[in-house]
Assembly symmetry: D3
């Protein structure tokens, strides 16, 4: 019996979408107002789903407290109240689009969660725009 347990979390960050190796004009043409050199920001909402067998002894797939602490340590403490471009090493040379952020988060969690659990990460950049990654 494979069940998915999911946990919502959030972090508030500034970012700018652009490539350092492109001119401002090219960045402007591709990324529009997201290319504001002074940055803008979001309340990111994160949903992490972990799929595995129910432990028949506890009735848990994974204690949601453990998952919640892991998200706090790996994601919230590193991304919350930060500038993604300037303060988060993973985005030094990687454009912090929602797509790239969700893959970075998935990889960070994949390293910490045992391999027989599947992982899905959903990231809301705004209430109307979100992305999903399952490591496929």
């Amino acid at each position: 019996m494979k069940v998915t347990i999911s946990r919502k979390a959030h972090f508030n960050s500034a970012h700018r979408l652009y490539r350092k190796d492109w001119t401002f004009e090219k960045n402007d043409a591709v990324f529009g107002k997201c290319n504001n050199p002074n940055y803008h920001g979001h309340n990111y909402e994160l949903i992490v789903g972990v799929t595995g067998q129910i432990d028949p002894e506890t009735g848990y797939v994974m204690d949601v407290k453990i998952l919640s602490d892991l998200i706090k340590e790996e994601v919230e403490n590193r991304f919350d109240h930060k500038n993604l471009n300037l303060d988060v090493p993973e985005f030094q040379d990687l454009n912090p689009t929602a797509e790239n952020i969700v893959v970075v988060i998935w990889n960070k969690l994949r390293n910490k969660i045992q391999a027989d659990f599947d992982i899905e990460v959903i990231l809301y950049e705004t209430p109307r725009n979100f992305v999903t990654y399952r490591g496929e």
Copy 2:
């Protein structure tokens, strides 16, 4: 790395559930209060998900602005503040159930989005009733 980008949109429409080739009594037995000849209506909420590879140059699967404009052009402009039965050609002879609406929307978007992207459409008829179609 296949990521799904999703965009929420909405439209407000009137509709009536019934078949023209059935008697009022039969329509009433099957569709109940949804068969009101004077119509009723909904704030439809729409979530369109597009799955594909991240473009390594931009960090986008697809610019969400392009997806949002496409939804506006193909769905919102044609369905919003309309009577689905009377104003939308697709439902001239097709009962506008949530199931039929979601398939119509999926087909309209499938025609406009490149074939190597997968599409999923979720349609909320009310906050408690929704349908999902993936073209399968």
Copy 3:
């Protein structure tokens, strides 16, 4: 100790904004796409607040079941899955704007709730547009 108890309810209706004594052109200029002669519709969300003293015996201002039944009888049964213009007598000669609907609902409830309770009605026409009336 005056406490407000509030109850959420909803109804799904079709309507058209226009005045019968105006030309189509004038209605179109003032009400735009809301003047579609074939109607459009909404999932209306309703929040009814009733303010009064806590009954020291029960700990209730009013049993929320009584309030909920009253909303069902006075509002939901009459407005849900209806065309407000054609099926609801109050809007035979009254334009069913959100403002007029909220006043009509407040008056219907005022007639049924004892006079020493204050009443507030909030009506969401869409998740982003709502109106509030307190009988003032």
Copy 4:
């Protein structure tokens, strides 16, 4: 054309997470504050999805009223305003974790829904913690 129709419902219950065959200390170490012997409680939110072919005659996969009545009969009437540990037979000897509850609900619905429909059940224990089961 396989479409999923989904219906949201809810029930409000008390529960306690523990095993009768463990000491209080062991239960406390594993289940923490969820092991309060006097119980705590939740507003559980339930989303049931049923996937099948659209009936070309009605345009329905399944009348959502039938699905809604089934959820009421099988889940709400038995779980709502109950103590899951004491009042619900399925949890006499089964720890009422979200994972175990979602499997119990899925099995109850599986017995009542025709076999060619797939079923997915999502259960929110809180707005930030939820579980999903598809019978796999």
Copy 5:
């Protein structure tokens, strides 16, 4: 310039509505399924609003971190994962209706927040039922 700052919090509790000095039959007639002797429970959502002048030096009415810590200390730590009837002294002889709970919370906060700030407490017992108290 008087501004209200508001903070949302939550706690998950079991409770039973009844009076010890009434018969079970009388409690059943008045409180219905809320009188289950084995308790039921809710995810209570709490919104605390504090109204006062903006401090021209900081731009804060009150640091929301201070308000959030106060709610944690006075409300969450005492009510969360508890049985309100059995574990919370204020409800030993007071029926834990939403109305009585919101007044208890307001009084606890009133004792800890400086007198020139006004306080409003909103308590959601379910997403559709809530109560509001302003100390009037």
Copy 6:
């Protein structure tokens, strides 16, 4: 009959809480992680309420399209995808706390809305923190 019409809008911005005339250490002690020199950001949600008499001819207090356009012009176009500290003149020498932002927005709208209408502005900095200003 005085009715309030309310409109929700949103903007996504970066900001930093600090005073230029304080040391970093003092700013850090007062504003904590909100004082990150590289900025952080939010999806601000805005609710503007306008209270006035219903125009008996149209049934409107104010055409919500006019209110929505006004919010777009005065707030969204100036704040969205901006750095509040660097890009918005009002915050050159004013700490962009939620309290100060809501007063700035109220004043901008007060200048554009006729004086016999009352205005209320609610600003969500996060889903759990919000402020309200009524010009009092």
